[in-house]
Structures are given as C-alpha cells and as structure tokens.
C-alpha cells in the first residue's frame, strides 16, 4: 500500500478542494465500492447504482466543503448522500424486479459458479439468489433499507440506525416488519411456479 493511500479522508479532501486530482481519485477508490453495493442492493439496477455513485462524487467535486468533519466520517456523509439519491430514485421509479431481464443481459448480480457445483445445483443456486433478490427489491423502501443494511451490509443495529438517521428501536421494528414481509414474499415467489404448473395441469 502506498503512503498516499494511508492518508486520512479529511486530508485528501483538503487536497481535493485545492484541485488535486490524484487525491480525488484516491477518495473515490476508497468509497465507491461500498456506495455502489448499497445502491445496487437497494435499487436492483446496475445503471441506477452507477448513476447514484456518480452523482454522489459529482457533488464532492463541485462542492467539497459540503462535508463537515465535525459531523462524522466522510464515509458516513457519502453514505447519507447516496441514501438520499437512492430514495429519490425509488420514489421516481417502480421497483425493478424483473428477474428474466437480469438473467439475459447479465448486468444484475448473480451467483458465481463455484467449483464442485453441478450445472443442476448451480441453476438451483442461481434461482434461489434471484428469488431472494426479487423478494428484497419487492419490500417497501424503509423495510428494504433495514434489511439491506443489517442483513446484506451486515451492519449492527446501531450502525444501521446511524446510517438511516433514525433510532435503534426504529431500525429494529423496521427489520422485524421487513423480515416478516420478506418471508411472505419468498413464500409467494416459491409458490408461483408450483401454482403455474398446477394451472397448466388443470387445463
């Protein structure tokens, strides 16, 4: 690791404010992946996630002084900005839960084929992944955020509450509702093929 990569965010940000492009690139590389993953898991859309990450860093390019070190880490600040962008995106658009589309263009996240899986097992894994992803994306935004933060990002309740800007009790209650809805949706999605085959059998 180069010495420059060890520099603190606020030091890099000061350099960014003076027009240091390399400092900006370091900051970007340090934070982009986490923001992209969060946006991707929340929106289920790679293009939207890309757009959101770009918007967040564009804000940093245009006005690096918006970040106040006294109010927390740069990571948390960027996360907050990304969260607002995600919520706006979700308000504008209906959730994208089309599994087929993701399968065809390959832009959506999928299961990585690991050694030791037969094609049948791999197909089953992939189907399960698509189901859970569809179930997560089908959750209302606030419950989805709680599930993404606590179950996918694996943050503690306190960290998730900090990110979402709400009390821990609220996160716990949202997570409780989110889990219940998620289980119901999974159940429903798993039943769909069975119902379809039953319908085909009755015809």
């Amino acid at each position: 690791m180069r010495i420059a990569e060890l520099e603190r965010d606020d030091v890099l940000l000061r350099r960014v404010a003076k027009g240091d492009e390399e400092a900006f690139a370091l900051l970007y590389r340090r934070h982009q992946a986490a923001l992209y993953r969060f946006a991707l898991r929340m929106t289920g859309n790679a293009w939207a996630a890309e757009e959101i990450v770009q918007d967040v860093f564009m804000m940093l390019v245009r006005d690096p002084k918006k970040y106040d070190i006294a109010r927390g880490t740069l990571g948390a600040f960027l996360y907050g900005v990304a969260r607002n962008r995600v919520m706006k995106h979700l308000e504008r658009l209906p959730p994208e839960v089309s599994l087929e589309e993701k399968k065809e263009d390959g832009s959506g996240p999928g299961i990585v084929l690991q050694d030791g899986f037969t094609p049948g097992e791999w197909a089953e894994k992939r189907e399960q992944a698509e189901l859970i992803r569809a179930a997560v994306l089908g959750l209302p935004e606030e419950f989805r955020e709680a599930v993404v933060l606590c179950e996918l990002e694996e943050l503690s309740y306190e960290e998730a509450a900090h990110m979402a800007g709400c009390p821990v009790g609220t996160i716990r209650s949202r997570l409780h509702r989110g889990r219940a809805l998620l289980l119901a949706k999974l159940e429903m999605l798993r039943d769909l093929p069975r119902r379809a085959s039953v319908m085909r059998g009755t015809k």
Binding site: G19, E21, F24, A25, Y28, R29, Q32, A33, L35, Y36, R37, L40, R41, A49, E50, V53, Q54, F57, M58, V61, R62, P109, G110, I111, V112, K125, Q128, A129, L131, I132, R133, V136, V147, E151, L152, E153, E154, S156, Y157, E158, V168, R172, S173, L175, H176, R179, A180, L182, L183, L186
Partner: protein, 236 residues
C-alpha cells in the same frame, strides 16, 4: 415470552447486542416449546442463508471504470474553469492596479510640470541689457544674468538657493537715481541684479574710476515699466 415478542426480538436474538442473556434464553426456551415460532425461526434462518449468498454474490461489485473516468473529466473541467477564473480575476486586478499607478504617476508629473511652469514664470532667466539705448559697452553687458524679476513689493528677499542665481533685495532706499531720471512710481518697477564691468556704469551716466573700470561688479538696477533702468545700487 409470547409469540409476538418472539417474532419481534426472538428471531435474531443471538445477534442483537442490545438483548440481555436472560432475554436470549427466554427466546430459545420459547422456540423449543412453540412449534409455530420454531418453524418461523427455521424459515428465517433459511432466508438468512439466501441473503448471505446474495450478499456474497454482490460483495465484489463496484462501479465500472467509466464512472471514475467521467468524474476525473468533470474534476479537471471544474478546476480548469476555476483556475482560469482565478487567473482572470488576478489579471483584472493587476490591470486595475496598473491603471491606478499610471494615473497617479501622470497626475504627479502633471502637477510637477505645472509647478515648474509656475516657477519658471516667476524665475524666468533672461539676458538683460541694462540699457539697450545706451549699450555702447556691449561686451561688458553681454553677461549672462540671473534675474529675479518681480514687483519689488512681492519680492522674496530670501535667496532661492540655486547656484549662480542672483537675487535682489526689495529695499528701495539704497538705490541711486540715474542722472536725468525723474523719481517714478515704483509699483510696476522691477529689480534686476546684473554683473557688469565697472566701466559700464559710465554708460548709465555714472562717474567711473578709470583705474578700476575693468573690475566686475554686481549691481541692482531698478527697471521701470518702459524697460529702462531708473536707478542703481551696488549690491553687497
């Protein structure tokens, strides 16, 4: 623990750091007794495994390189623009400062030239012939004379300090009227200090000691408004 409580806090009791050990034990106890809640917990554990798999699948996801490229372009454009704006601002201020400087220097020069002009007006050096009509002894009077020409009442008796400049006093009492000249109004008269050979005094009608006629002397001439000397005095 009741089923509602178990659903709220029991499903994830092992992970929730805010729960006490007693609450965790109560949740475990309830799950072992209630088949419905035990089934719910199993379902949730299965869902969690799938969530873990989904998290794992997207763990290495990151924004494509084109995002960084676009941001870098935007960054360069942003800072190039602001740099150019700053340079323009500096240039504008520099030009303004230069303009002010030029203005101040011009004004000072103008003032200086005005003052010099006024001073020249007052101190204009002239070659004077004490009496052109009687200029028989021209060689003696072709001296370059420094002149303090002024109204005697306004004459500054203090020498102005310029080397070679002769300054006459304004005291009219020491003057001797030249022969044949009537006393006149001295309001418009001027005093000229001249250097001449003593012999030239003869041309003004004054008696001259022939033995000392070649001596250079300095005299003040009181010149009337007709330009002719009216009176003379030997300056000290």
């Amino acid at each position: 623990m009741k089923c509602e409580e178990f659903e709220a806090i029991g499903l994830d009791a092992e992970r929730d750091a805010s729960l006490s050990e007693a609450e965790r034990a109560a949740a475990r106890d309830h799950a072992s007794k209630c088949s419905r809640c035990a089934a719910l917990q199993d379902s949730w554990q299965a869902a969690r495994v799938e969530l873990r798999a989904l998290a794992e699948a997207t763990r290495s996801a990151e924004a494509p390189p084109r995002v960084e490229m676009r941001l870098r372009q935007e960054f360069r454009a942003q800072y190039r623009t602001s740099k150019a704006r700053r340079a323009g601002l500096i240039a504008a201020w520099t030009l303004a400062a230069a303009a002010v400087l030029v203005g101040v220097v011009s004004w000072r020069n103008w003032r200086k030239s005005q003052q010099e002009e006024a001073a020249m007006h007052l101190n204009a050096p002239q070659s004077v012939s004490p009496h052109p009509a009687r200029d028989d002894d021209g060689a003696a009077k072709k001296e370059s004379l420094a002149l303090e020409a002024t109204n005697p009442r306004e004459l500054n008796p203090v020498a102005n300090g310029e080397s070679g400049t002769l300054v006459a006093g304004n005291d009219l009492n020491d003057f001797t009227l030249l022969p044949g000249v009537l006393p006149l109004d001295t309001d418009d008269a001027a005093i000229l200090r001249v250097r001449m050979q003593r012999g030239a005094l003869g041309a003004l009608g004054l008696p001259v000691n022939e033995e000392r006629a070649g001596e250079w002397i300095q005299v003040d001439l009181l010149v009337g408004n007709d330009g002719l000397p009216q009176a003379v005095r030997l300056s000290r």
